[in-house]
Structures are given as structure tokens and as C-alpha cells.
């Protein structure tokens, strides 16, 4: 974290989900329901344990980034694990990052 912190950096959690393209809309619907304040979606390709391209129309994977509180990130991760880990190409990772306007990402 910035030493001086004159800008008032605040720590929130960044969750990154990489999943096959087919799951995109479903995952975003979950995120909406779980009350995140927003998300960012990036087209990507990849190789993993499955590494199949089923949705040959729209490209391979999406990377979804979500800034949220630690609790919300845990709830999202639990949901993804429950729904998609077994049968779909999906991974996720989380880390702490510093943001300005920290409240923005901690919607009730």
C-alpha cells in the first residue's frame, strides 16, 4: 500500500474468474443477484484441464473481474464452486487491491 496514502487508498478484494464463454451470461446474472457494484469482462483464450472450445461462435473464454468486499467474493466463489467447478472449464483467483472511493465496492 502506498506509504503516504494521501489519496486515501482503501483495501478491497479483486476476484478474477476465467470461464468458458458459454457461462458468461449465467455468471454475470449470478453477480447481479449477489449485489456486486459492477464487473469488467474481457475476452480471452486459454488452456487448462479441459481446454475445449465449445462455443465456437463467440470465442473461447471470458475473464471476469469483480471488486467487492471479502465476504461477497467468498459468496461468489462458493456459488461458482457449487454450480460450475465439476463440469465446466472455470478457475478463479482472488487478491487484495487498493482502490479509491472504497465505499463504491461495498454496497449492502
Amino acid at each position: 500500500m502506498s506509504s503516504t496514502n494521501a489519496l486515501n487508498w482503501q483495501s478491497v478484494r479483486l476476484l478474477t474468474i476465467v470461464a468458458e464463454r458459454l457461462l458468461r451470461d449465467r455468471i454475470l446474472r449470478h453477480l447481479d443477484q449477489m449485489g456486486v457494484s459492477g464487473y469488467t469482462v474481457i475476452d480471452s483464450e486459454g488452456r487448462g484441464a479441459r481446454g475445449l472450445m465449445v462455443d465456437e461462435w463467440q470465442g473461447e473464454n471470458v475473464e471476469i473481474q469483480v471488486l467487492a468486499s471479502s465476504d461477497v467474493v467468498d459468496r461468489i466463489a462458493a456459488k461458482m464452486r457449487e454450480r460450475y467447478f465439476e463440469h465446466y472449464s472455470i478457475i478463479l483467483f482472488a487478491q487484495d487491491v487498493d482502490v479509491l472511493r472504497g465505499d463504491k465496492y461495498r454496497k449492502p
Binding site: L22, V54, E56, Q58
Partner: protein, 320 residues
């Protein structure tokens, strides 16, 4: 059964040659690439074009000539799915889920195989029935629904089943093929004339580009063939012949011209690799996608494109 002139006419067509070029480029690890956006643009264009052309044809056909062929098609599609399922369970010994997933693909239809068959048929026999596009639309969906039902009937998934069905019916293939059909039929031949230069005149050229791309995709799928086992490969080569010949016979019985019957057979022989994979992936996630993608795109599509289509034409000629 396969006449030599048909085989040559087919293998030397730019469409087939472009597919082969794609296969070769990928095998040589060339850096040749079709951008994903171009792939989607071409799919969209081809499906909408097929729809438009069919719609114009349907607008000119008396509606009652459509009823019997469409009903026969739906019945045939369901029968083909069930037959494939039984073969996959008994002879290939797949699990229930995998058999249902693969059967959905082989009961459904590949639009590109349809086009390639129509192409050769028109060159050999002259113009074919315009209603074939309506038949394409009718053949696409039922098999997928049957496949999902076969795979899900023993599991909890009532809700999931309905979600999948909803998705198939509102999926892009249906929107473009079905929507294009409606637009073509509503606007009618005269009003559609102004879009003819793009959607009809350029069609064959775009198809060449699309097949170059499919060749590259098929080559990637072919790598997985070894994992599939010989029984499965045999299935992917034999079932199109069975479905195809029975389809030609049914088409002849329905009173189609020889060209129409051949295209009808080719549709039954083909396996979907656009609509079915997406629907099956969501509706039967437990099924192994390697199996159905490799079979449909890696084996059956090239087989039909190179050898199958001339065979169905030869059969149609013999039966007529």
C-alpha cells in the same frame, strides 16, 4: 454406388479445396488465422442468407405442399436420434449421458453440409426444391430436445431441461435461420431483390472462406480422435451413411426431385456442430464435449463433405 464423376466434381470444387487448405495449414502449424470476429460474421451471414433464400422460396410455394414434408422431417429427425442413441449405447457402449449427447448431434443437422450438398446437387441435377431450407429449420431442433430428454430423464433436472429448451429455441441459429425465413417470406421475392447481391450472389464466395476456417477447426479436433477409441470413430463414419441413405430413400418417397432427395439425405447424414454443442453443453454438462465435437466436426463433417455427399447423390440417381 458412388459414381466417379460425382466424386471428382465434388473434390475439385473450391469449397472442398479450401477446406483441405485449412486442414493443411493447421497441420503445418502455419500462423494462418481467421479472426474470431470474422468467423462469427461469416456464420451470421451464411445462416441469414440461407433463411432469406428459403423464405423467398416458401413465399412462392403453396403452404399445403409444406405440411407433409415438414412432419416427415420431424418424425425422421426423432427416429434418427433414437436410432443413434441405441447404437451408441449398445455397440459403442457409451454412458447414458454421453450417448444422449452424441445422439442429439447426429439427429440434428449441419447447415454447411446442407449448403455443400445443395451446391453439388444443383450443379448436377439443376435447381432443387426451395422448401429444403424450411426442412433444415425443422430438422435442427427436435433432435436436440430428444437428446436432452434422453440424457436428463433419470436426473433431477426438470427446470434445467426447460431452460435448455428455451435456449435452443431462442438461440442464434434459430433466430437467423428462422428469422431469415420469416423475413424472406414476409418481404417476398420482389422486395428481397435489392439484397440479392450481398446475400445470394456472394454466398458461394463466403462459403469458401468459411470452409477454409472450418478446415483449420477440424484439424484441431482431429487431434482428439485417438482418445475416442475405434468403436466411436467407426460410429462417426458409419452412421452418416446409414442416416444418409435412409434419408435419400425417404426423400424419394416424399416425391422430391433426385437433387432434392440427395440434399434431404445429406441433412440426415450430417451432424450439428453449432447449435447442438452449445445446447448440450448447457443441458447435459456431465457429457464429455471432446466426444461430440471431435465426432461431428473432426470426422463426420469432412467425411460428408468429401465422400458422403457424392454418395447420397449417386444413391438418389439410382433410386430415381
Amino acid at each position: 454406388m458412388l459414381s466417379f464423376d460425382l466424386l471428382t466434381a465434388n473434390l475439385l470444387s473450391p469449397i472442398v479445396l479450401a477446406f483441405v487448405l485449412g486442414l493443411i495449414a493447421t497441420s503445418l502449424k502455419s500462423d494462418l488465422e481467421v479472426p474470431p470476429a470474422m468467423h462469427s460474421a461469416m456464420s451470421l451471414f451464411l445462416l441469414l442468407s440461407i433463411g432469406f433464400k428459403g423464405g423467398v422460396a416458401v413465399a412462392q410455394a403453396p403452404l399445403d405442399t409444406l405440411v407433409v414434408p415438414i412432419l416427415a422431417t420431424i418424425a425422421g429427425g426423432v427416429a434418427a436420434t433414437l436410432f443413434a442413441y441405441v447404437v451408441l449405447r449398445r455397440l459403442v457402449r457409451l454412458s447414458t449421458i454421453d450417448a444422449a449427447a452424441v445422439a442429439a448431434h447426429y439427429g440434428s443437422v449441419s447447415a454447411v453440409t446442407f449448403i455443400a450438398a445443395r451446391d453439388l446437387a444443383t450443379r448436377v441435377f439443376g435447381d432443387i426444391e426451395g422448401i429444403m431450407v424450411a426442412i433444415l429449420v425443422a430438422l435442427e431442433i427436435p433432435a436436440i430436445l430428444v437428446g436432452l430428454w434422453l440424457g436428463q430423464r433419470n436426473s433431477r433436472g426438470g427446470e434445467r431441461m426447460w431452460l435448455s429448451i428455451r435456449e435452443v429455441l431462442t438461440g442464434r441459429t434459430m433466430m437467423l435461420l428462422g428469422g431469415g425465413l420469416l423475413i424472406g417470406a414476409i418481404a417476398g421475392p420482389e422486395r428481397m431483390q435489392r439484397v440479392t447481391p450481398l446475400f445470394f450472389t456472394l454466398f458461394d464466395g463466403v462459403l469458401v472462406l468459411f470452409l477454409l476456417d472450418l478446415g483449420m477447426a477440424a484439424a484441431k479436433r482431429l487431434k482428439d480422435v485417438r482418445i475416442a477409441g475405434w468403436r466411436f470413430v467407426a460410429f462417426a463414419l458409419a452412421i452418416p451413411l446409414v442416416h444418409g441413405v435412409l434419408g435419400v430413400w425417404l426423400g424419394t418417397a416424399l416425391g422430391f426431385t433426385p437433387g432434392g432427395a440427395a440434399v434431404f439425405g445429406a441433412m440426415f447424414a450430417s451432424a450439428s456442430y453449432i447449435a447442438a454443442p452449445a445446447a448440450v453443453r448447457m443441458g447435459l454438462p456431465e457429457a464429455n464435449p471432446s466426444l461430440y465435437l471431435t465426432a461431428a466436426l473432426g470426422i463426420t463433417f469432412p467425411f460428408n463433405l468429401a465422400i458422403g455427399i457424392p454418395i447420397y447423390l449417386s444413391v438418389a440417381r439410382a433410386l430415381s
